[in-house]
Symmetry: C2
Subunit: 116 residues, 2 copies
DNA sequence: TCACTATATCAGCATATGCTAATATAAACA
DNA sequence: TGTTTATATTAGCATATGCTGATATAGTGA
């Protein structure tokens, strides 16, 4: 038996689903499940412009799915686990395959990420 | 602890989320969780054209989220519980509020549904 | 201060989406 | 058979979405 889920307004639930209904954003959120990431990491991982990455993160942040924290010149994004949406997001991510190879691929290619 | 979820391809998962990321379709699927519905019921419930209803159902059917069964002049839609997508759909629906008032509202207004 | 790096924002474009109105298809029934 | 009812399909339109390229903003460090 599954635990009781805190229900969301229909509209809010639909917004989250729509937001995660994009391959790039879903993949980003799955990556954030395990590790916080800075923007430049996403830029290295995905084959789209920095501008596009930034716009995806903006949407995720606007709805409260992720949050940001500046660390020197970098801005790290993480899942917003305090959000009322988090339970739903977490549940969805259980069905989404790990995106870790995206990172290890980068490492193999010597494009190792170094926002430290 | 939650049960182990059967994972879907990223692309497939994103398609489901995108599909359910529409208020009308999410509401439809939530209604189907409890009862099979024929098209005319949806038409009575939602404030959009019969054509629009039909198009939403088509999308849901194309991905395998719902299935249809003709009963005389009516076509009844139901959740496709055999689909590999069903576990995800079911899980999502736990976070979505009941849409039963939509039906009882109709009844109150004397617009009772009668596809029997 | 100036240059460099990281990130965000803006404008513009091509494509996707959801809707309506009109029409087609199919079952039911006189 | 012809009419009515239920549903699907098509065309066309307005708006939303995701992207790029250009530019703005902000921290870092010489």
């Amino acid at each position: 038996m599954e635990t009781q889920a805190t229900q969301l307004e229909l509209e809010k639930a639909a917004s989250v689903l729509k937001l995660l209904g994009d391959k790039t954003r879903l993949s980003m959120v799955k990556l954030l499940e395990k590790n916080d990431c800075c923007v430049c990491e996403f830029v290295a991982i995905f084959d789209i412009s920095q501008s596009a990455i930034s716009q995806h993160l903006r949407k995720l942040k606007d709805l409260g799915v992720v949050k940001e924290k500046r660390k020197g010149q970098w801005i790290f994004y993480s899942l917003n686990r305090e959000s009322e949406l988090y339970a739903l997001v977490e549940n969805i991510l259980r069905f989404v395959p790990d995106q870790d190879e995206r990172i290890s691929e980068l490492e193999k290619q010597g494009l190792r990420i170094s926002c430290e």
